[in-house]
């Protein structure tokens, strides 16, 4: 038989209030400051309050009586079971480890998604390039207005004749920061779309590939292909893979969301978070670097930097990025795992 309601309320009141106070203190103080005594007291009072809630639910349906205790038990549950993870970057060494070890490990764990995203982007680029190569008038339809120039050759001649567009550090910094904030937003969008719809993300990557391929073809057809590679290459070596990676991260999460397999959707998502978050942070860092390069070095014409040098820089950046993210062998990782 359940206890009479009024008795339950009268008996429980003091310990509920005490638990409420302790949880308030705990919310403000770090665990070590709380001390083992108070920690144990919270756990004990939480268990009692949980039992009280069960009795109260058996005795009444009055929301005004149940809600406060329900909220209190909810807070207690969050405290007791939500092990307070020390989830800060916590110092320079941890930060370095995060960027040098954990981010590449995240990418290596998502190889398949990276391959799928790269294939979507690559297929788009090939199609865009092929379409414009076969029929140059397609460029007008495929390339967005702001990138479309009727004659790439004339544009290149104009750029090479005039003074450098980016002449000062301030201009480069300003332009660069605009570029990377924009690019990070776009890649987050690719991530979100891939995560929420899978197909939408693949489509976005494919379509971006089509545009890139079409623009490249129109420059190559006009005989200024080298300019194009030297112009897009230095930042594109980091920026294009980054957008593909953001889409790949979205595919990892989208796969967990739509095809959780034998576990619950929540469990599948939680298992994917570490990989996804490392990929997104890595992608953002690469995009900051790419934006700064795009705002400065990429804009320099042959008058200042010879094109072969720009293309060489692009190649080095791409190889370095690929080696950094995917270069370490699985065996090395195994040894490292044993060591830690």
């Amino acid at each position: 038989m359940s206890l009479p309601l009024e008795r339950l309320l009268a008996d429980g009141r003091d310990r509920w209030r005490r638990l409420d106070e302790l949880l308030d203190v705990a919310a403000k103080a770090p665990a070590w400051e709380l001390g083992p005594e108070r920690m144990r007291e919270i756990v004990r009072l939480y268990r009692l309050a949980a039992a009280d809630l069960n009795r109260l639910l058996a005795a009444t349906a009055d929301p005004e009586l149940i809600d406060p205790l329900n909220a209190l038990v909810g807070r207690g549950y969050r405290f007791v079971y939500g092990a307070r993870r020390v989830e800060s970057f916590g110092g320079a060494r941890r930060l370095v480890r995060f960027f040098t070890r954990e981010i590449p490990a995240g990418f290596r764990g998502a190889r398949r998604a990276v391959v799928v995203a790269s294939l979507a982007f690559g297929a788009g680029a090939l199609l865009g390039f092929g379409a414009v190569a076969v029929r140059p008038s397609f460029a007008e339809d495929l390339v967005p207005g702001e990138f479309f120039t009727s004659s790439p050759r004339e544009r290149v001649a104009e750029i090479e004749k005039k003074e450098e567009r980016i002449a000062t550090v301030a201009q480069a910094a300003d332009f660069g920061s605009q570029l990377y904030t924009h690019n990070i937003r776009v890649s987050f969008l690719a991530f979100g779309l891939a995560a929420a719809t899978v197909v939408g993300g693949i489509w976005l990557l494919f379509w971006n590939g089509v545009i890139l391929g079409a623009v490249a073809a129109s420059y190559v057809l006009d005989g200024v292909g080298v300019f194009f590679v030297a112009w897009v290459g230095p930042h594109g070596a980091l920026e294009l893979p980054s957008i593909v990676f953001a889409g790949a991260a979205g595919l990892v999460l989208g796969h967990a969301f739509w095809f959780p397999g034998e576990v619950t959707r929540g469990a599948a998502l939680r298992a994917a978070f570490p990989t996804v978050w490392r990929m997104l942070i890595g992608t953002s860092a690469a995009l900051v670097l790419a934006g700064l390069i795009e705002g400065s070095f990429s804009q320099l014409s042959a008058k200042t930097v010879p094109y072969p040098l720009k293309i060489a820089v692009a190649g080095v950046l791409f190889v370095a990025l690929s080696l950094f993210l995917f270069g370490r062998r699985a065996a090395d990782e195994g040894r490292q795992g044993e060591a830690t």
Partner: protein, 263 residues
């Protein structure tokens, strides 16, 4: 995880979690209105912080660096703000704290850093095509009012007064009644109330006393008179000197007193 109609009429659907103690705790998903207001407060705060930091940076740094620093800072602030508060303050940004909301993991636990990050990256999609158009639409369709970012991060915005002292006041009823001492606890009345009244009737008494001061005076009088009539008949009481409300209070006081405190 399950859902249950919170009230008898089932007018509000809640989410329920079962703790390892086998206790069902209900989470009350926040409505779109309060979430929107909380967001508005946060957006205004971010704008104010950005403006403040920008003017400081413009003064402190040379022009070549300040534009880069300001653009980066304002960008970073929009991301760090939500993630930082959600992870450090147990799911509450200042806007949410003001509106009594909290973001929790769908299991009722605190959010992890990657989870909060994913939830907030999802904003880019939720924000499309204009000010949370897609997110708002998804939230309207989802039973727990979750936007896309919440769905992808398996999180939930719940109503939670946090330091629940204010809400705990409701559980202080017995003391309130004893202190008020509208009528001294009559041992005979207490005996009758304890033995002859059903659980439903005692709940009714407690609820009526607690809510009386919130009622319209006319409704308060009518309800208390009706209840008084019912209890007079049920307990065979006469007590003509007591109004309906006085009788209700006397009975509620009698049943609210701790049994050990009976005189």
């Amino acid at each position: 995880m399950s859902r249950a109609a919170g009230f008898a009429g089932g007018f509000r659907v809640r989410r329920q979690i079962t703790t390892p103690e086998h206790v069902r705790v209900r989470l009350e998903p926040a409505g779109p209105g309060s979430r929107f207001l909380a967001l508005l407060v946060d957006v205004l705060l971010i704008l104010a912080l950005t403006a403040l930091a920008s003017s400081a940076l413009n003064h402190l740094l040379p022009k070549s660096l300040s534009t880069l620093a300001v653009a980066t800072l304002s960008f970073v602030l929009t991301w760090i703000y939500h993630v930082g508060f959600e992870v450090r303050r147990e799911g509450r940004s200042p806007g949410k704290a003001m509106l009594g909301l909290r973001v929790v993991d769908a299991r009722g636990l605190p959010l992890s850093l990657p989870q909060s990050f994913v939830r907030n990256v999802g904003r880019v999609l939720d924000f499309a095509p204009v000010f949370y158009g897609l997110g708002g639409l998804v939230a309207l369709l989802d039973r727990d009012g979750r936007r896309l970012g919440d769905l992808l991060a398996d999180t939930l915005v719940v109503r939670d007064e946090g330091g629940s002292r204010r809400r705990m006041a409701a559980a202080d009823l017995p003391e309130t009644l004893r202190r008020e001492g509208q009528a001294p606890v009559d041992p005979e009345l207490a005996r009758l109330a304890r033995h002859r009244l059903s659980l439903d009737e005692r709940e009714l008494l407690v609820a009526l006393v607690r809510r009386s001061d919130k009622l319209d005076p006319r409704a308060r009088y009518d309800l208390n008179e009706q209840a008084g009539k019912h209890f007079r008949r049920k307990l065979g009481l006469d007590l003509p000197h007591l109004s309906g409300e006085a009788l209700v209070r006397a009975l509620a006081t009698a049943i609210a007193a701790k049994p050990g405190a009976r005189r």
